[in-house]
């Protein structure tokens, strides 16, 4: 299970404590996260499931490359960080 944590800036909008979720891609992991926390979905991805323009996701120390399908690979020991971009404020 990957460990997923979220920017504190999300906390003023909705609860999103760090969590563990299974999946071999960022998409699979995030879908598992959204299944447990449905309101979180629209904060991170748009109507088509694309990562919002001013949200960043890192797998360990690498920013993901595929912001549309979220197909970057994830392994069980990975840490996933969801940040807001410095733009968009």
């Amino acid at each position: 299970m990957a460990h997923v944590s979220f920017t504190d800036n999300l906390l003023k909008h909705l609860p999103c404590p760090p969590t563990e979720a299974a999946g071999d891609t960022v998409r699979a992991v995030m879908e598992a996260v959204f299944a447990d926390n449905p309101p979180l979905r629209s904060y991170l991805v748009d109507d088509q499931g694309r990562l919002r323009k001013h949200v960043n996701i890192f797998v360990n120390d690498q920013m993901i490359e595929d912001r549309t399908a979220l197909n970057d690979a994830v392994s069980d020991s990975d840490r996933i960080f969801v940040f807001q971009a410095l733009s968009g404020g």
Partner: protein, 360 residues
């Protein structure tokens, strides 16, 4: 008189209440967040606030205790399309929310960017895309006006028959439905554009009505502050005629019409589209009381020193009596008049940029 109004700003929602002759702002809601639209529904007193979070997208909240507590609702959202379609739509901003007819309990309409109309029948808990408009082939000819994508900013519900709707789209013209949005027709003959080739100047589908305002007691009268001037319809938006030679300028975004006198309307002029500031840096509100035959530029109480305020399309509102108007600017100024525009009073010079104002 309406003793409460709301200010949707770049950094929160402010509520002003009149007490002992003075207007006082309460603690802001959604402090730090862009508020793109606000509605106080007169049918059930629900208060709606649309947010356009810089990082986390458009959101919608409702308060049933006048802003003391809020519940997040599902914002309008497009259905998932083919993953290969890189241009598949996503709601970028809720631009306006209006109540349905008095007898339509729980019905709301929302206009968004990209240009779509949405209907809720459960006080905003869920939304349905009006596909009959979205699927019109003319929509491919729409384009953005001020934003990258076109948007629906004005939704007028005929108080005589709530099945009758009139939309203003920037840039996509004026659209009417007589059947709750089941079918649509493109109207607005008489509008003209000068930002398209001359032979397309009267093309209905590329007009940019910055804002439409319907007189509630005479709903066939619709005022239009258009990108290229000021237009008036006497047939419910089917056709318009242009009102020329308005001083100091015909450019602007906002328009308000008196609730019981369709001949009285208010505009806030700017120089022109390539210079969106008051003419000679002197902010005025233009008022006509004779259907546009003559106008007076009201400036009493507005800045005497150079001013560069712009009033966005939802930045001017008039109350049920027609005596009070509130106006908020892009530079965070807020004014009110309580005598139909003869005198204005500044309530704040320090607000965030104002997107919309709305009386309760």
């Amino acid at each position: 008189m309406t003793d409460t109004f709301y200010v949707a700003s770049r950094k929160g929602l402010f509520t002003y209440r009149r007490s002992h002759g003075d207007w006082m702002a309460g603690a802001p809601a959604f402090l730090g967040e862009p508020v793109s639209a606000v509605l106080k529904d007169p049918r059930d007193d629900a208060l709606y606030a649309a947010l356009n979070l810089g990082h986390f997208g458009p959101k919608l909240h409702r308060s049933d205790d006048d802003g003391n507590s809020w519940t997040e609702l599902a914002a309008p959202a497009f259905a998932a399309a083919d993953p290969e379609d890189k241009d598949a739509p996503s709601v970028e901003q809720i631009w306006t929310i209006v109540p349905g007819g008095d007898e339509e309990e729980g019905v709301l309409w929302a206009g968004t960017i990209p240009g779509a109309l949405w209907r809720s029948e459960d006080r905003g808990a869920s939304w349905r895309l009006i596909e009959s408009l979205w699927n019109r082939e003319e929509r491919e000819g729409w384009f953005g006006g001020g934003y990258d994508h076109p948007g629906v900013h004005s939704v007028l519900v005929d108080p005589r028959d709530s099945a009758k709707l009139t939309l203003g789209v920037s840039c996509g013209g004026v659209w009417k439905s007589d059947d709750h949005g089941e079918t649509w027709r493109l109207t607005g003959k008489g509008l003209r554009s000068d930002y398209t080739p001359p032979e397309q100047a009267e093309d209905l589908n590329t007009q940019d009505p910055h804002r439409l305002a319907m007189c509630p007691s005479a709903p066939d009268t619709i005022w239009c502050q258009h990108h290229n001037g000021v237009f008036l319809s006497r047939d419910g938006g089917e056709t318009f005629h242009e009102i020329r030679d308005i001083k100091p300028a015909v450019f602007g975004f906002a328009v308000a019409v008196h609730p019981s006198n369709p001949y009285t309307a208010y505009l806030v002029p700017g120089v022109k589209d390539e210079c969106r500031v008051p003419v000679d840096a002197r902010l005025v509100v233009n008022r006509t009381e004779n259907g546009g035959k003559s106008w007076s530029a009201q400036g009493n109480g507005l800045p005497k020193s150079p001013s560069y305020d712009l009033i966005f399309r939802h930045g001017l509102d008039i109350d049920k009596t027609g005596d009070r108007l509130v106006m908020g600017s892009t530079t965070g100024n807020l004014w009110i008049t309580e005598n139909g525009g003869d005198d204005w009073r500044q309530l704040s010079a320090h607000l965030p940029p104002v997107a919309a104002v709305a009386f309760a």
